[in-house]
């Protein structure tokens, strides 16, 4: 039984310059206490997905469903969503400095969550804030609770954000690039803390990141996004050990390997698609080395592949073909190129 089940989510924005089709048919699910990694490059729609679900994307046109604990978040009113946010679902953002209010004490900002949702008295809320700050590893929490965000270092601020997210013991934490603005050594601290808190509180986590390494480290399941669509979905091991989608494969191959020099890198050629128009084909087709005619007909749906259950890929290629065929299909490319003229 999934805690959050998102089906066919579509998000678009009307802008001065036209419509931005940010997310197209996104589906995923998170089990209670599990960690889902959503991975994608900039503009792939990974942040918009969760912000739209939580009603935090101003001006977004949203369709599809996102069932949390039996209730659909997409059809909820703003008031209903307000009661979910911070209570059942908390969010952590990329830049802890700009994400904390500069003019209020951190204790106040944490206590606010409890006061809003739990009708907890101020004094009690502050006492609990001190407790939380201690649990997320902030030394001398009884003193620091009275400090302002600018008096903390980057890593400590992110700890404050985590404490705030945990304040009402939510079922789900959505962490949107929580360590991107931090140094590697601090990132390691924060990821470790997030994992420990998840165990302590039994919270599920959606971790949004561009860093495959982070996902490999902490996620149970992974969704790879590209051009606003899910490309591949599987448990973390399957994604890294037997990636199916050519995009996932390309992504993994383009990372300079830690395990030593592998010679020349194999980049994915070309650039990501523009989201200013509806993409009526596989969004990866223009860059795909194994492109087929079928790729240009319609965006392929997610379908089961590989040996492990729950491994889904949105690719027209056959499960057993892929992974072996890394040589480009010259014929397919030529046809595709001709069609485009």
């Amino acid at each position: 039984m999934a805690l959050l089940e998102v089906r066919d989510l579509r998000v678009s924005f009307d802008t001065d310059d036209g419509t931005v089709y940010a997310v197209q048919g996104m589906s995923f699910s998170v089990g209670a206490g599990q960690t889902l990694g959503i991975v994608g490059e900039s503009g792939s729609g990974k942040s918009v997905t969760t912000q739209a679900i939580m009603g935090l994307a101003p001006g977004a046109k949203i369709s599809g469903e996102a069932v949390l604990d039996g209730a659909d978040l997409i059809s909820m009113s703003e008031d209903e969503l307000q009661r979910i946010r911070g209570r059942k679902v908390s969010l952590i953002f990329q830049d802890p400095l700009t994400s904390l209010h500069p003019l209020y004490r951190v204790g106040h900002q944490i206590a606010e969550v409890m006061e809003t949702h739990g009708k907890v008295a101020r004094k009690e809320a502050i006492r609990r804030a001190v407790d939380l700050l201690g649990r997320v590893g902030i030394p001398e929490p009884d003193k620091r609770v009275r400090d302002y965000p600018h008096q903390f270092s980057g890593g400590m601020r992110q700890r404050v954000m985590i404490a705030m997210a945990l304040a009402y013991e939510p079922m789900l934490i959505i962490a949107d690039e929580p360590t991107t603005a931090l140094d590697v050594t601090v990132q390691a601290q924060i990821l470790e803390l997030l994992g420990r808190m998840q165990q302590d509180f039994g919270t599920a986590v959606i971790l949004i990141t561009h860093d495959l390494g982070v996902v490999a480290d902490v996620a149970d399941d992974v969704v790879i996004m590209y051009g606003g669509r899910p490309m591949e979905r599987a448990d973390v091991r399957s994604v890294f050990v037997e990636p199916h989608h050519p995009y996932t494969q390309g992504l993994l191959e383009s990372i300079p390997s830690y395990s030593g020099r592998t010679g020349r890198l194999k980049p994915i050629q070309g650039y990501p698609p523009s989201l200013m128009r509806m993409i009526e084909q596989c969004p990866f087709a223009p860059r795909c080395a194994q492109v087929r005619d079928a790729c240009r007909v319609a965006p392929p749906p997610l379908k089961p592949v590989g040996s492990s259950p729950g491994h889904l890929s949105a690719c027209v290629l056959d499960a057993n073909r892929v992974g072996l065929a890394s040589e480009p299909d010259e014929a397919g490319r030529a046809v595709g190129a001709a069609e485009e003229r």
């Binding site: 310059d17 918009v48 994307a57 977004a60």
Partner: protein
């Protein structure tokens, strides 16, 4: 090796066909701004009004000749009733009526527009020139020069501006040149401070560092790299400063310290109308100059507002668009910049 290159090239070329075909010729910053401005109907109407006003003031002698009434001619018989009351709008061929001395209000308004535009635009350009030059040098060089120039601007800004303008004009006698000089003297520090701030942030941008790494001289960096990035700001603030300066001129004229009668200026027309209670029965010679003044300043303000949105959305944000929010949401700040030395100084 060469095959690799050709391959990369090909990919880059076909990367976004839309970009190649449709958007290519129209995506220069100025074209983009113009396209946005064209969509703004209010701004376009204002622009039309301003163009018309400029034409009117350029061809003032021709227009008044067509009307048949000079701006200073007193039509004591035709223009005033027997009891000395000015003629109302539309009577005896006076489209907007006459004033207390029997002069044609319309002709005077037409000539008044010359003063307003001369002073408004003249003082603004002078202020712009001073402000940009001082701001550019202070911001670019920083250090001692910046302290001195910055302090100087601060002190000028803590002057009771209107009072000193009044004192200077009163002392040296009003003249158009002095008026332009005094008005720009007290308005350039605003632009100077703005430009300085902008230059300080531009100076730290990597493209300036890149120019320096190439061995470009300071002057080249200031005028080739930085100055083009100030144009949008300068255009916006010039448009917003013009109405302010027009009002300052009118105010000084109203206080009797600007353009001296009988030369018509909207300010002294209003002042003349206000002395004595004649305007209570002959409202037109008070109200029409006021309307001309208000419409002109309104047009410049509306245009400035539109320009601000069109040229650099960051300054105005009067139409905060979802597009910008989306772009924000999409943008990744993945870089870990080291603390800039200048920030450390601050």
């Amino acid at each position: 090796m060469s095959a690799m290159r050709a391959d990369e090239l090909e990919i880059v070329e076909e990367e976004d066909p839309e970009l190649n075909e449709q958007q290519f010729e129209s995506r220069t910053p100025w074209r983009l701004a113009w396209r946005r401005l064209k969509k703004d109907r209010v701004a376009m109407v204002s622009l039309g009004f301003i163009v018309l006003l400029i034409l009117v003031s350029l061809f003032a002698p021709l227009l008044t000749a067509l009307i048949g009434h000079g701006p200073n001619a007193q039509y004591t018989t035709k223009g005033l009733s027997l009891s000395g009351i000015p003629v109302g709008p539309g009577h005896n061929g006076f489209l907007l009526g006459t004033d207390d001395q029997g002069r044609d209000v319309l002709s005077r308004i037409i000539y008044g527009s010359r003063i307003s535009l001369e002073v408004g635009i003249g003082a603004t350009f002078l202020a712009l020139f001073l402000g940009v030059v001082v701001g550019l040098f202070a911001g670019y060089y920083g250090g001692f020069l910046d302290s001195v120039l910055g302090r100087f601007m601060d002190i000028l800004l803590s002057f009771p501006i209107l009072l000193l303008a009044i004192a200077i004009v009163a002392r040296f006698g009003p003249s158009l040149g002095l008026l332009i000089f005094v008005i720009s003297l007290f308005s350039w520090p605003y632009i100077g401070r703005l430009v300085r701030g902008q230059v300080i942030s531009l100076r730290e941008r990597e493209f300036v560092e890149a120019a320096r790494a190439l061995g470009a001289s300071d002057l080249r960096i200031m005028f080739v790299e930085i100055a083009p990035n100030l144009i949008a700001l300068a255009v916006i603030y010039a448009t917003l400063l013009i109405p302010v300066n027009i009002v300052t001129e009118a105010t000084l004229s109203f206080l009797g310290l600007g353009v001296q009668p009988p030369t018509a200026s909207w300010g002294n027309m209003i002042a003349e109308a206000q002395t004595g209670d004649l305007f209570t029965v002959a409202w037109w010679f008070l109200v029409f100059p006021c309307v001309a003044l208000v419409l002109t300043t309104l047009a410049f303000n509306l245009l400035g507002d539109g320009l601000r949105d069109a040229l650099d959305p960051r300054y105005g944000r009067s139409h905060i668009s979802a597009a910008r929010k989306v772009r924000r949401a999409f943008r990744l700040r993945r870089t870990l910049p080291e603390p800039e030395p200048v920030e450390a100084k601050a």
